[in-house]
């Protein structure tokens, strides 16, 4: 049961088409998510993490956004080709989402209990009473004290941490197979962050859903994820087990990211940085998208884009350094210098 694939994304491309041109926000993403597993997607702002997550439930603002290519398979069924009505039955039921902003993601004029209950009535056909009871139960389950009282309150009466718990309760009410968590702890302070992550892990054990965890916080990745995909400029540049990723990052970008973390037991004058900026999604270079910022970049990196290659079991990387061509080129370079 546990290793069964629930969600598979193949060559997903989400582009934004406007007068300015075409922004390739998501440009050929592949990953699989297994039951009970947590897949982290990390990357800096604007790399396409959130757009990837919104694309899965087809929630990208359209127009201008459009899924131009690829498949999103939930238990083998393609969500991209589904009718809106079919997809509607999956949203909030088999796949749920938690958003980054707990302050604005709940409806300000509807009691939070009702906001949870409405999905239960819709997807599980519960009566008003049953849905309300279940909603109160869920609010208790995410660790909010006196859930009966809280359920009747409106979001403005709850703190940020409580609102995010409500979002989690809402997302998990229908026991989904996949939970997409888009930076669920970014807007919260650190102690609340830890509590929220604990609750998510706990409920994952109970419900057994697969989680796609979008974040830019590498600490959270280490804490939460089994697998990690590192995104850069709309593409996955590296995919590894989180256990090995921190010890052995392959891609120069990942190395840069991990290198930029402050180290607890070393005396550091300055934190490491990655020089340069992310290329504009309207105008990606022909070669490797990281080449401009990469300390190892060679002529071939600027000329041609590398593929995502299998480096080892459970290790994929999009970098020329790990290809045979690189070996050949570097030996020829060495010959020239000799």
């Amino acid at each position: 049961m546990k290793n069964e694939i629930v969600l598979e994304v193949k060559n997903l491309k989400t582009h934004f088409i406007s007068k300015k041109g075409i922004a390739k926000a998501v440009d050929g993403i592949d990953f699989v998510l297994r039951r009970g597993e947590t897949l982290g997607i990390v990357g800096e702002s604007g790399c396409g993490k959130s757009m990837t997550s919104l694309s899965i439930l087809r929630l990208i603002p359209s127009p201008p956004g459009k899924i131009v290519d690829g498949e999103i398979l939930l238990n083998g069924k393609d969500l991209v080709k589904m009718s809106n009505e079919e997809l509607r039955k999956i949203r909030g039921n088999q796949i749920s989402m938690i958003f980054q902003e707990p302050m604005t993601s709940l409806n300000p004029v509807i009691p939070v209990g009702e906001q949870i209950a409405e999905a239960l009535r819709l997807h599980q056909g519960l009566s008003k009473r049953q849905a309300w009871d279940k909603s109160v139960e869920m609010i208790g389950l995410v660790g909010i004290p006196s859930p009966e009282k809280r359920a009747k309150q409106e979001p403005f009466q709850l703190s940020g941490g409580m609102r995010q718990r409500i979002m989690i309760a809402m997302a998990l009410a229908c026991t989904p197979e996949v939970l997409i968590a888009d930076e669920p702890t970014t807007a919260l302070d650190v102690t609340i962050q830890a509590q929220i992550l604990e609750i998510m892990k706990d409920l994952q054990k109970k419900i057994g859903m697969g989680i796609i965890f979008i974040t830019h916080d590498l600490g959270v990745v280490a804490e939460m994820c089994d697998q990690v995909g590192v995104m850069y400029a709309g593409q996955i540049v590296e995919h590894q087990n989180s256990a090995t990723l921190f010890k052995n990052p392959l891609h120069p970008y990942t190395q840069g990211l991990i290198g930029s973390l402050p180290k607890l037991y070393e005396d550091q004058e300055e934190l490491q940085i990655i020089e340069g900026t992310v290329p504009s999604p309207y105008d990606y270079p022909d070669g490797c998208r990281f080449a401009e910022r990469c300390p190892f970049a060679q002529k071939m990196c600027i000329e041609k884009q590398p593929e995502l290659i299998q480096y080892d079991e459970d290790m994929k990387v999009r970098c020329w350094k790990y290809t045979n061509q690189w070996q050949e080129e570097s030996s020829s370079r060495e010959m020239v210098t000799q």
Partner: protein
């Protein structure tokens, strides 16, 4: 909540003082002498003087005002200068007519305005949106007396579907109510549209969509409830101009309401009548505003009324 309502009701006292004072002073400044007008053309000087004496019009202004305001607080609005009947009786006969007209007009403002605004907002920049907004622009631009005459010409005279004027049956309400409500409906439509468009882009609407809710639930439950908050304020303000509009519309359609009563009273310099009419209109406006504030709180519990 209770305290809030009590506070607001107490505010009525200064409103009465202010309104009566302003109307009283304006009526004094308006050219024309009530006594002369009442006595009629060709009346002798003595008759006019006697009339003036009897009506207390030769007393100093502040005395006239103070005795009037004292009586008002005792529920006596004075007698009409024209027929010596109590002003309050006249008002009580006419007020229900005006209220009925105002009620149906505001109903048209709200219902028509909301429907048009939602149609526009669901598909912004589509043909239906542009069409509705052009009509709304017309609705705002057309003066009500002109719209009233136009409707009367088309529906009463040409098509003969509806009565021309008067206030006898339900059919009589339709044209005046549309005339009076149209401008407000247009404003409400534009407000609803912009408010809806803003709300539809909010995060919580995306959350509702991510929950798999049906589109009409998203629009009417999640978006509209939030979009209505600014619309309620506009409806409240519209009610004020609507009361002003009754003056014109009642005259155009020959309806014996408060508005027409005030116009007639101004024409004959019947000061107590004018003051009574304006005072009642102001009181109605104050109550409607109180109602709007309470509604505001019902739709948006974040508002602390105190």
């Amino acid at each position: 909540m209770f305290l809030f309502i009590l506070k607001r009701l107490a505010q009525i006292v200064p409103v009465i003082l202010g309104v009566t004072l302003v109307v009283f002073l304006i009526m004094q400044m308006v050219p024309g002498d009530s006594a002369v007008i009442l006595a009629g053309e060709g009346a002798s000087k003595e008759t006019v003087e006697e009339l003036r004496e009897n009506l207390g019009l030769n007393k100093p202004l502040h005395e006239q005002y103070l005795s009037y305001i004292g009586n008002v607080f005792q529920g006596d609005f004075g007698n009409s200068l024209k027929n010596n009947q109590p002003v309050l009786d006249e008002i009580l006969i006419r007020l229900p007519i005006t209220m009925e007209l105002a009620f149906f007009s505001i109903l048209i403002t709200i219902v028509l305005g909301l429907i048009a605004g939602i149609i526009s907002a669901i598909r912004p920049y589509s043909f239906s949106d542009i069409g509705v907004m052009v009509v709304a622009l017309l609705g705002i631009s057309l003066p009500s007396f002109w719209l009233g005459l136009l409707l009367m010409y088309v529906f009463s005279i040409k098509l003969q579907w509806l009565p021309v004027a008067g206030w006898d049956s339900a059919a009589h309400i339709i044209l005046p109510a549309i005339t009076l409500g149209a401008g407000g409906a247009a404003i409400v439509a534009r407000m609803t549209r912009s408010s809806m468009l803003e709300v539809v882009g909010q995060d919580y609407v995306r959350t509702a969509r991510a929950k798999g809710l049906k589109e009409h639930v998203i629009i009417y439950k999640h978006a509209l409830r939030n979009a209505l908050i600014p619309v309620i304020t506009v409806v409240g303000l519209q009610f004020g101009s609507l009361l002003g509009g009754t003056v014109l519309v009642e005259s155009v359609f020959a309806i014996n309401g408060i508005g027409r009563m005030i116009v007639d009273a101004i024409r004959t310099r019947d000061i107590p009548m004018v003051q009574g009419g304006v005072l009642i209109a102001s009181l109605v406006f104050v109550f409607v505003n109180l109602l709007v504030d309470i509604m505001y709180r019902v739709f948006n519990k974040r508002i602390d009324l105190n």
